[in-house]
Symmetry: C2
Subunit: 700 residues, 2 copies
């Protein structure tokens, strides 16, 4: 299914109505978590010439993913919806391990915290994927309808909405990799979109009893229900979209992936599992805990307590015979619940109303490449598939496009060189590979039969299972991601010249991972703030200036003053170089000054204006800019310096990417290093802002 390379397809193809041809900056294919996260971020960053299409006629209301890891909650909070998600979600408290005792009866053998303490300010939670999608849709609508007072966004008459029952069926790529650095019209990606009938866009349902997800199941591939429609009937509504960028977030059976010649590689196992959602009536005491249950002879089960008293059960389905798959007729709610009752015996469980069910064969697959010409990107399940029990699908998918979209926005807005797009695959493919590796081990141990004793070599060690799950819990939190050296991550091996990362200045804060959030107190209003809330996902870089204790140490005071002078006045200042004329001082690079002096020893107005910019024609001041690491009245002391390992006598500068990952730690006086970091990939702005004003000007 290699794409035909036919430039000027609009003119050449007589099938098209000339009117149905349009240009977009970004076309997003697929409105699941990955696609919606991309659209939400782009809307938030002010990229509004965006379309998002989905072949399904309606959004989902039940089933599918339900786990949100702490990092996803951090990301959602950065988009302004964390509080709302948390209010609706079920926080998971504890993981309980239930294993057979000598008599074969299951009993609780261990408990561990569901979220590793201190790993994030949020905890692993569960809420229906449809609710997350709803909130992302609201975010898209809200940010793409020209918010008042944010001058960095373009106005748009109508908000971006998902175009449903719309499906791509032809893609035409530019001629070569070199086109990635060109903005000329012939280097657009051309996608032909087909508007489906309602019947085509509605997934088939197989169970008369409850909504099911079998149409997506990888256990019954021969049905191929999710494949793209192949026949092109007469009188089809077709249109052609010329795209600067395409994001294929169209799921495990991604059409985009195949259309641009990328492959998903990997294997499936012989392990089969069913999934059932509903409110249970049960005497099992740990039904509100996440439970990993290994029965002696009846297979395994995972219990995931969810919002609104719901519980999700992952229930192992016996394999009829080696090499064989279960029949579809064996995947019914009744048979799944019967299997659950065998596993959980002597307890019983009944779900009077099944909300949703499905089944899957465990398998792990990874895309060989994540982009074509840095013009078409794939993300989410299109890049990585694995078993759902570790709750990583929705999380990793949203993280993919959270990583990608600020980079695309930076390029489109003329802020950065397109080479930063290389970092998408570099950064995300490694995370996906780690996930696949973990899932292979975890799934085999979960699906295996417990060893009867140490001599039982065919059985799995329950101790090893527990250790794997405990270790996997760190990974599954999403907080241990550590991006590689690149133009965006200035650690050993990065391409920067004249930039030296100095990890010793912040010993507990690494370059590569996301910034851990601690509490600081604002000078202007005496209130405690989480640093992460000062660095929302608004597309800005953050320069965290840990100025030290300027009251006690005159060296700190001097270094802060000199840094502020550099940032505010020098022509080499990245704030000066990269902020387009006429835009706010903090619109590209935002400073957050965090001191180590007692709050009452500091006056909020005694700082250089670059650290507390005056905004707009009326002269409004910025108030949430200068902070101190001090006691708050009501929420204690954040001890940020101590927890980051920063010496209050020395201080440091921490540069944080728009997606909250740490790019650089250096000293207060390293003005040249800060400038050089940005020079590696940012484009100086001497003109007023417009989309892609300079991309074509770059020497290749």
């Amino acid at each position: 299914m290699t794409p035909s390379i036919t430039p000027n397809a609009t003119v050449a193809n007589p099938l098209f109505d000339q009117k149905a041809s349009s240009e977009v900056d970004v076309l997003i294919i697929g409105a699941g978590p990955a696609g919606l996260m991309a659209a939400a971020c782009l809307a938030r960053y002010g990229v509004h010439n965006v379309r998002i299409v989905d072949k399904r006629a309606t959004k989902i209301f039940t089933g599918q993913a339900d786990g949100l890891n702490p990092r996803s909650l951090e990301v959602l909070q950065a988009l302004g919806i964390g509080t709302q998600v948390i209010a609706e979600a079920n926080e998971l408290g504890e993981i309980c391990f239930w294993n057979p005792n000598e008599t074969g009866r299951i009993n609780r053998t261990a408990r561990i915290p569901d979220t590793i303490p201190e790993i994030s300010r949020y905890r692993q939670s569960t809420v229906h994927q449809g609710r997350i999608e709803r909130m992302l849709l609201d975010t898209i609508a809200s940010w793409s309808s020209a918010p008042i007072g944010d001058e960095s966004t373009q106005s748009r008459k109508t908000p971006i909405t998902v175009e449903r029952a719309v499906c791509p069926d032809l893609i035409t790529l530019p001629s070569s990799t070199a086109s990635a650095l060109s903005d000329s019209p012939q280097d657009r990606v051309v996608v032909r979109l087909r508007h489906l009938s309602e019947a085509e866009a509605k997934p088939a349902q197989f169970s008369p009893l409850a909504p099911d997800g079998l149409f997506r199941s990888n256990m019954f591939e021969d049905d191929a229900l999710d494949a793209a429609p192949k026949d092109l009937p007469q009188k089809e509504v077709l249109e052609e979209v010329h795209c600067r960028y395409v994001i294929g977030a169209d799921g495990a059976r991604s059409w985009t992936r195949g259309a641009v010649g990328l492959k998903l590689e990997g294997e499936s196992s012989d392990f089969f599992w069913g999934v059932v959602d509903g409110v249970p009536a049960t005497d099992f005491p740990d039904i509100r805990m996440r439970c990993a249950i290994h029965s002696a002879e009846s297979g395994s089960m995972m219990v995931i307590p969810r919002e609104k008293d719901l519980v999700r059960l992952y229930i192992q389905i016996p394999q009829p015979r080696k090499g064989q798959r279960p029949n579809r007729a064996d995947v019914t709610p009744e048979k799944l619940m019967a299997a659950a009752n065998s596993i959980i015996a002597p307890y019983t469980i009944n779900i009077p109303k099944i909300e949703w069910f499905t089944c899957y064969e465990i398998g792990q697959r990874l895309a060989d490449k994540w982009q074509k010409f840095n013009r078409v990107f794939i993300a989410g399940d299109a890049c990585h598939t694995h078993s759902p029990k570790a709750g990583q699908g929705m999380n990793t998918s949203m993280a993919d496009t959270f990583n990608l979209s600020w980079k695309i926005a930076h390029v489109l807005q003329g802020k950065a060189h397109p080479k930063i797009l290389d970092t998408y695959e570099i950064e995300r493919a490694q995370v996906a590979a780690e996930l696949i590796e973990f899932d292979q081990k975890f799934a085999a141990l979960f699906s295996g039969k417990p060893a009867k004793d140490v001599l039982d070599e065919s059985g799995i060690s329950l101790q090893e299972f527990q250790q794997t799950m405990e270790k996997g819990n760190q990974f599954a939190s999403g907080t241990s991601v550590d991006y590689q050296p690149s133009a965006l991550v200035a650690k050993r091996g990065s391409p920067h010249q004249g930039v030296e990362n100095k990890p010793e200045l912040a010993e507990k804060l690494s370059v590569g991972p996301r910034l851990y959030s601690h509490q600081v107190v604002c000078l202007a209003d005496a209130r405690p703030y989480h640093i992460a809330d000062l660095a929302p996902a608004d597309g800005k870089w953050r320069l965290l200036i840990f100025g030290g204790d300027i009251t006690q140490y005159s060296g700190c005071k001097g270094r802060l003053e000199k840094l502020a002078q550099f940032l505010g006045e020098s022509p080499q200042s990245p704030i000066k170089k990269y902020t387009p004329p006429g835009q706010e001082t903090d619109s590209v690079i935002d400073t957050i000054t965090i001191l180590a002096s007692p709050r009452v020893s500091l006056e909020p107005d005694a700082f250089h204006t670059v650290l507390r910019p005056i905004k707009g024609k009326h002269g409004f001041r910025s108030y949430q800019k200068i902070f101190t690491d001090d006691q708050s009245y009501h929420l204690g002391h954040g001890h940020a310096y101590q927890k980051y390992g920063i010496d209050p006598k020395v201080g440091c500068v921490v540069l944080v990417r728009p997606d909250q990952y740490v790019s650089l730690v250096t000293d207060m006086s390293d003005h040249a290093g800060i400038a050089a970091f940005f020079e590696e990939f940012m484009l100086p702005r001497n003109t007023t802002s417009a989309l892609v004003p300079q991309m074509a000007q770059i020497a290749i």
Copy 2:
């Protein structure tokens, strides 16, 4: 304006269209914070035959009250909207006092925390009254449209909505106090409602520059813009409503109050103030703090930072001459801002866009009585008026009807004897009297000119002002309210027989105030919960069973088992006596068991079912019922026993009212006392639930 006592007014009065006559359980007059809180609570408690009318054609969008004290946030959280309110509100950090120095220049002389630490889990916050009203309206709509799964509420086809541009103009009372105990039709209160034209219902505006609240101002009473229309034109739409109860929440110039012959008593001062809302451009460094500024010669000002960068300024208006009021022409945004600049000099402040402004004369007035025949109640500004600077108006008004509405619901639902309605005036009039007393002192000190030196007797002491404000801060938090002994508060002086309050069992938890909320950990899901979140405003009583450390002390274990047996099995059990047949075990009195044993030493299913009831025909279990005072994985240890002063070897029982106020502390074995407490006012339920099934049966 004494009401005419004409029973059967429907038949007698030829002016009425017979069709426009209806019956309601509760008619609420006025849709400000007090009226909406009443409607929200009644909707939540399942009283759905309710109407709420307001003479204004539209709800307010700017101005008016903006302060929410910690207790109001607790109440809003109990109604399920606390998180949303907090997300929108501006939390106040610090109060700064700015006073003239020897040269007459203002400078910051002191700082105190805005909310006294440890007083509540919430902090004093500001958000526009219109937003609170919006969220209360959403709450009303949501609860009055027959929520799924809550069998205690009656179904209702359409949600309760505010009927705007509707105004009462005639009230007919029952013939005597004795009628308060009767449910016969002739003892209804009959209110005639007039449907206004748009012109009549729209408040006049006086400023061409910005929305103003002058139509409500008490400085220009001769305009009487807020008084009820007096003439009754031809072709008027009139209707007559027969009401079991009427709540007059119709503001400082309450029509209801006058119509039933109650009076507002008190005096006005010669202090005049203006109010301006907007986003300021200023070099005053503490503009995001609450500031009390006394200038040397130019009067005083209060700064209140609000949501969305807004600030409210309370600006003193000079009195032209003793005994004289300022002219209306002197109350313009320009003149108010000029006064603000004089006070704040040498700093300057400019508000480019005034959102709203108004003015008022400081005065304190209190209603002589709060009810008529326990059938018509007044609440909010109808009962108490005072200066707005202490931020008590909206808070106290909402607290009034939060107190009243569960009592009305209890009577209407046949749960309790109507005599509990006596406690409304007893409890709330005292709070209002304390507020008036505080405000008199505070307002005089704020409006007074600072003393030049200790010999300047005409000037006020700035030290005394600060002390008054600090002391008032406790009161203003709303958390120090301590209700008097009554049928609902079993402390010395209450009418109960055989009930003995035992404060020594919980030394830091008093009978009379609201229950302070601490964190406990749930056995079933290992998560931390705030006790207040387990006791939402759902109309239920809560029996908090502090069972002690049942793992270590067999005495505790035995007492808990005996108490559970009593509650679950004895015919004397209040749960048995007062829960209507067919309703859930916890629908009237809900138990929350809080133990002092290590969590992992306890099994969640090892308790009597009365403590963890099984619900519905499918046998769903209750999971958030049994807790322990232990470390949580992520949010520390609540130390609830220690903080309440309860001995883990002994334990106790704490009985909490539906509005979260503490009724009784007694020992685990005092089964008779617990029973006797409820016997004082509750009505045994031997029939299925219906509104007012037994009120008429009570022997008077």
